[in-house]
Assembly symmetry: C2
Homo-oligomer: 147 residues x 2
Amino acid sequence: MFTPRPIGFVRSPFKDVSAIPKGLGATHPEEGALEILPEFAAGLTDIEGYSHLIVLWAFDRSDGYDLLVTPPTDSCPHGVFTTRSPRRPNPIALTIVELLGRENGILRVRGVDMVDGTPILDIKPYLSNIPAEKLRRGWLGEAEARQ
Amino acid sequence: MFTPRPIGFVRSPFKDVSAIPKGLGATHPEEGALEILPEFAAGLTDIEGYSHLIVLWAFDRSDGYDLLVTPPTDSCPHGVFTTRSPRRPNPIALTIVELLGRENGILRVRGVDMVDGTPILDIKPYLSNIPAEKLRRGWLGEAEARQ
C-alpha cells in the first residue's frame, strides 16, 4: 500500500469536534481554508476553474473502528460503510466544499465540517452528479422522512 | 496518521489499466463486484437501501507523483489536484458506482473503472448532489466545450 502524508491542513472555525453540527438537517455553511504545503502548491494550478472540490482528509483524532454504528441521525445501528462515522477501518473522510478563492497555496472554501488543524490527504475536482431521480438514500432518507 | 489496509478487492472485467476507457466522453457502464473481506462484511449492514456508493480505493500500481499532469482529456498540463491522475501524493482514488445487489460480503455494482484485484479502502453512501446550475467544471468543462 502507501504511507499517508498530509498535503496540507484545514483552517476552520471549529476548535473541537463537539462544535461541529451533526444529525438530521445539519448544515455546514462555515467558511474556512485549505492550506496546502508549499511543496505541493503547484498541484493546485488551474483549480480556480472549479466551483466545488472533493476533499479527502484523515480522521486523525479517531482510534479503532466499529462495524455497526448508531449515528446521531437515527436510533438504531447501521453498517459503518453506510455512515460517515470517523471510527472506520481506514479513517479517511470526505467533504465537498465550494471554492471561493485562492491565494497561492491557500484555498478559501465554504462548507468545512472539519476541526481546525485537520490533515488533508487529497483534493479532487467535483465533476458530475448522479441524477436526482436515480438516487436512493437508504436509512438516512427514511430517517429524514420520519421527521 | 494511519496505516491503510484493504477492506476488500474489486472484481472487474479490466485485467489491465490500458483496457479502461479514458479521455473525453469515456463512460464506465461495466458491471463488477466489490468483494469485502469477511471481517469487515458486517459494516455493509443496510447498504441495500442506497442506490449509489462512493468507493475509495488505492492506486496500488502507481509509484511517485507529479504536481503537473497533462491528462488524456487535454493537451496542456494542469495541477494534479484538478485531475484524476493516479500519480498523486496520496495515491487514493474515488469512484462512484451504482449498487445493483448484495450477497453477504459481495456488492454487485455498475460503473467500475478499476483494474481487477484493486484494493478497496472505504465505502461511503452517496447522499446528495451539488445543484447543477452551481457547478463549474474548470479545464475539463472547457475541453468538452471545444470538442
